[in-house]
Symmetry: C2
Subunit: 466 residues, 2 copies
Amino acid sequence: MKKRSVRTLLAMALAVFSLRAGAAGLRDGERSYQGTVDRLREAGLAGERGFDLLRRITSVGPRLTGSPQAAAAIELATSLMKELGLSGVHTEPVEVGRWVRGDIAEAAIIASGTRAAIPLSVCALGGSTGTPERGITAPVVDVRSLDELASLGTVLKGKIVFFNRPMDRRLADPFAAYGGAADQRVGGASAAAGHGARAVLVRSLTFREDRNPHTGLMQYDPRAPRIPAAAISTADAEVLSALIKKEKSVSVSLRMNCRDMGRVISANVVGEITGSELPGEIILLGGHLDSWDLGHGAHDDAAGCAAALEALRLIKDLGLRPRRTIRAVLFMDEEFGGTGGRAYAIAPQRKGERHLVAAESDRGGFVPVGLAIGGRDRRILERVSAYENLFRPLGVSFIVPGGGGVDVAPLIKQGAVPAAVITNSQAYFDVHHSALDVLSSVHPRELELQAVILAALAYILAQEGT
Amino acid sequence: MKKRSVRTLLAMALAVFSLRAGAAGLRDGERSYQGTVDRLREAGLAGERGFDLLRRITSVGPRLTGSPQAAAAIELATSLMKELGLSGVHTEPVEVGRWVRGDIAEAAIIASGTRAAIPLSVCALGGSTGTPERGITAPVVDVRSLDELASLGTVLKGKIVFFNRPMDRRLADPFAAYGGAADQRVGGASAAAGHGARAVLVRSLTFREDRNPHTGLMQYDPRAPRIPAAAISTADAEVLSALIKKEKSVSVSLRMNCRDMGRVISANVVGEITGSELPGEIILLGGHLDSWDLGHGAHDDAAGCAAALEALRLIKDLGLRPRRTIRAVLFMDEEFGGTGGRAYAIAPQRKGERHLVAAESDRGGFVPVGLAIGGRDRRILERVSAYENLFRPLGVSFIVPGGGGVDVAPLIKQGAVPAAVITNSQAYFDVHHSALDVLSSVHPRELELQAVILAALAYILAQEGT
């Protein structure tokens, strides 16, 4: 083998990696924050502190709105904020709906001729009514859209409607694919009930073919009868669909004892670093503390909560004194109606406060790729873009108009500018709302980069402008 | 619960997701390729075809340069290229070094006083000589750098040197952290041998703390004695380091039967879509077929090979007729000396060929985030940048100078412009060169986006310019 010096070999192997060094020089404004952003990055990536916060939140387990675990999460979040030395740590009451999954979610393709029954992996969709105790057994109709459903009309009477349109794999943006299929889950039951159907099975919203059902909110139209709605795993959806093609008439039994438990009082959790000069002007970093109940809500949205808390920890531990208030709000009930976001916006504590920016992290703990800021008001977007060279080494390759989310929507209506760290979402729906959404699906450094970006964003916005 | 229409709820939930719609309009040039890029994306994401190619390559198992499995991979790659309908499928001989790991790689902290022996998880570094059959037992010196080593001098005589500097977690770019620690692995043995050391243990190059040793190339300086070099897992490095602090004098035994087997003939595998107008002008898409032998080389670099093959499949299956030749080259021996890249550049077949662009995919099958193109010559970079709005929806958020790699370096010296898809690398070193680098660590859509980007890049470059 031809010998090469260690130096040559290393240089050769690393040639491809040097691609982003020697980027354009920093602007004056950027230079003034460079040291701070460097220290935030070093403290944020050094010791998996952000991931530890995630671990502590997910260790509560599932945190379904109104559940005892959600209450435990509120207590934990309050202690965590105090432990991090935040100021004004408190909870604000939120009236939420309580729905319980129960302990039965069974479905099977009924035996036919010499073919045995085939069990189906299903779960109740959030908000669904249960079945009668003996279950519902009925022939299944495979439909691909609400339009197709409407065209079938009276055929659906007495049937179980199987909404089986997959997320469109051909779209590069998984959120767009999700958005294009979620109508079946949210509105499918009432649409089918309007035609006399007895229950619905909805194909799980994920690209992966596996046996994990993915839950999520469904809503009843008050004009239609309330019929049970279940998600079916994608692998089981394929089995059922193939069998319908083959046997023409296929019946399924469905049995669930989920039920509504009325209204209960829950809470948002609030803590802050109070601004030294403009305490009433607020940069909000938020996530939602509630989660679905099949997994541990690690990406959705313990990650957003951990990122917000870790961002404040970093700012505090570096001894930074922001001019404006930087506040973490862990919202309740994002998944089940968004009451937490509405309650926060109109709480008596808001009197005299002005929310300049409301950043919500609810796209999972995956690697950050960009920032979305502001809607019509471009001033904050422009302000942040002036520091783009500080964000780029953290993985922020674009800063575009956008941002927002269920929890901060009411604040945005009041004039706050939305913001969000945009993360890689290719694997998001693999775990979303399913049993797979657990701690091990989050990569520590990917989460921690989000926290560093939030810290830098919040601190710069707390200092800059009038 | 306050009732909201399905439409409102969906709109609210998806508000954050619409951030990149309504991007700036396309330029005329972009418009002319939009339909093609859309079809490449749809075909590339529809059915996990790219991932299936990856599966077929990794199913060969580890493909260490010069090994029987590397030979099997060459056969497989040749068949795959023919199956995909590529033209001019052939192999080109490469003389490579053959090194075998053997079946023994054992290390332990020797028992001391009442403390029992502690086994250590190690593996031979690539190219290392073995130990004598009885092994080597010697006191260990924990050093953090080649400079520290030099300062210790005669203390090292007869010792095992433990290079224990971790990759710097505080850096946002894992490749930079890798580059900052790899000198210990590549040159540590000879540096230590120069001071009379008997063997070296090198901390594995990964951020994760686990028991997987990570191998990789080491090189001997002909002026120093050849001593055995092993990687030690990060978890075991922590154990050893803590014990050295506590007990001051700690001895380790090391036994390995890896050995050099001389030179053998291997091959690069070449196939193409021959250009309809300018067949001698080549856009090369490359990856390396050889891999390290602890895992299956899924990210490193079956992913790069699969991405290149899938890119050509997409172009072919869409019936596109590129003006220039688009060629896939699966190089041998990237990991063990880079002889494949050198052999390709000077092979007789290169006569009359001009490589316009040489794109090497060797950063893993993770989600693409950008493109790096060209060094001094900015023309190709500018040509591609004129189509940035077509690449952006595929995840390409930046197009910067850069690119290159071990295999294409000789072509670049001859004037080819380097290019590379830049991928998220936060998790790359979790698996790199270890037993964890297997199929399940690659996400199908993330890999397939890389193939779509390569296909679009290669096709546009095959058509545009003179």
